[in-house]
Symmetry: C2
Subunit: 359 residues, 2 copies
């Protein structure tokens, strides 16, 4: 069962909730926009469905609603940002803006972030670069759910990578993906349907292949992109590891199995080596390489050629990364955003708690 | 059947061959070292097995033995390098050095390269950053063998990504992988053994799953990392696409299905939009983020924790990217490099042609 809400309704409500926990008007606006970018792009697992989760982190004092975000170290093309335990939804746009400003000055900007929290969808931050005729890159580590090749221990998060690349008359190329075979959100959909997962997504706590969508509750793990060794899961593991190191070992955040969990009721890992979770952002000015006009003409050519590639029988066209999310955004801005009952009830509970209205 | 050669034997011979086609002493040395880094690290498909292939490209005037490699555009943190159709084995180390020099000045350096040729193994170039306490990144596009998700056309090369990250007392983290489920070299091994390939590696020319290791000869394609849509091949496709765009659309090289083929007898694509093949390099100074000492201590901690993760039954340990290649290098520098007969004969034919000795 679902009910449809407008973007405006969800934005107004989310902003009000963030203000209720003490965020400034400006931060509440940024946090709500970042959060809702997931809902409008169809990444339902990362949008308002997580709002109550963020609030619970604030309740246990793991989220600071009034952070003093600072640059602790920098060079002309780099910076380390300390998020002061702020909402990742606010810290990440700040850090991405630092990357963009540095790119304006010296061609590129690269920012590693410590002491942050969950930042919503990576693609939103990467796309901040597009209006500046820059390529945007965003990644983050996350609490460990993924077993590297040959491991039965969960050592890495789903550690997503997003890359946004401007085009001319064609829409931008926007890739945004977890470095696992399947993102956790896809498992949650199967759990709700009581359906099996394909092989190659998850393993049991002993490291055997499993199709049980609830296997993580039994101590199992998600698998890196590739699934098993024969299908090059060591590559997905390497990608997740690179995201972890760029986001956290470079900045001084927690890494590997020490990344703080998103659910506030899960105890923190012992002997944590850093502060909070880590992100990594990059911005590259197109005209630091060639004129933006030339580049965009060739990107249009690239996109048109790939989109018109001959397809397997039954498939209409080859998809350019970002196409489905952009189409979803157009639809949801017009038709509204459907929320499943559980999420709507979650928001109603928040409304009651903060004396707000949500209907 | 195999025969064992010392590194010195293969280096001396390769250098002599490169000098015979007109390379300067210095370029011949660089090219031979780059080429042989594949043989010593166990990537047999990318080492001296390709030497005659490079020479055939020179014969058809697609490789220029005396290139004037130039920087055509730059900012403090970026450059575009024109390889002047030189050997990628020479152009790539030049460009990576530009990235390193820029990182010395402004924290990071990013170089996109056009008008180049096959550059050997990506890992070698990325590892150039390590002695400078920098993270190194290298990628390249390659001629199209890979069908994006839903495509039956070959649109991308195996487009590898390498990332080298310094550590302290532990050896460096060095990931170097094709963005396909299986690199072409792995298929070649199966072809020699007349063995079947696992599912998820290749498809037929109609886009059906195939286990025929010779399927590419029938018009089939390699598959992006992930294999099929259910196992997130769209992520491998996006990774290959990002490598293609960074390497070629940023620089002005050929991209997608227009990348020149490595075998000299294969006709060039029509209506090529750029010059030669493209590469992309990055160097990030560790102390542009935090002190190299602190970083390396945490990298050691990262590596030790991952290497000691609990394994599935029957597996000794979790592998850190770069472990197998480093162990192979130690072994082959001591015990020598085995070449299969076909490769040894290929080198003997080159020796005869250039009045050199190879035995």
């Amino acid at each position: 069962m679902e009910k449809i809400y407008t973007y405006e309704q969800l934005y107004t409500f989310s902003t009000a909730v963030f203000e209720k926990i003490g965020c400034s008007k400006k931060d509440a606006d940024i946090a709500a926009k970042t959060l809702l970018s997931a809902d409008i792009r169809g990444v339902d697992s990362h949008g308002v469905a997580r709002l109550s989760g963020y609030i619970r982190l604030w309740e246990v004092q793991r989220v600071n609603a009034t952070p003093k975000i600072t640059i602790t170290h920098e060079t002309p093309s780099t910076a380390v940002v300390d998020g002061d335990a702020g909402l990742g939804l606010v810290v990440a746009p700040y850090a991405m803006q630092v990357a963009i400003d540095k790119a304006k000055n010296v061609g590129t900007g690269w920012v590693s972030v410590k002491n942050s929290n969950h930042f919503g969808i990576a693609g939103y931050h990467a796309m901040m670069a597009l209006p500046h005729d820059m390529i945007g890159i965003a990644m983050t580590n996350a609490s460990a759910l993924v077993a590297p090749t040959f491991s039965v221990e969960r050592m890495l998060g789903t550690n997503p990578i997003a890359v946004a690349i401007p085009a001319g008359t064609e829409p931008a190329f926007v890739a945004d993906f977890a470095t696992t075979t399947a993102a956790n959100g896809k498992l949650e959909i199967l759990q709700r349907k009581n359906a099996d997962a394909p092989t190659g997504w998850i393993q049991t706590k002993e490291g055997r292949s499993s199709t049980n969508a609830n296997e993580l509750k039994n101590g199992g793990s998600l698998l890196p992109l590739g699934g098993d060794r024969e299908h090059s899961s060591h590559k997905g593991y390497a990608l997740g590891a690179i995201v972890d190191i760029f986001s956290a070992v470079l900045s001084g955040a927690n890494y590997g199995p020490w990344v703080p969990p998103f659910p506030a009721y899960v105890p923190m890992p012992e002997n944590m080596p850093g502060e909070g979770i880590g992100h990594f952002f990059g911005a590259m000015r197109i005209d630091a390489f060639r004129t933006a006009e030339e580049f965009k003409q060739h990107m249009d050519n690239w996109i048109k050629r790939f989109r018109s590639a001959k397809t397997v029988a039954g498939e209409e066209k080859v998809i350019i990364p970002g196409d489905p999310e952009r189409e979803m955004e157009a639809e949801r801005m017009k038709e509204g955003i459907p929320l499943v009952n559980a999420v709507a009830e979650d928001l109603q509970a928040l409304a009651q708690r903060f004396s707000l209205v949500f209907s």
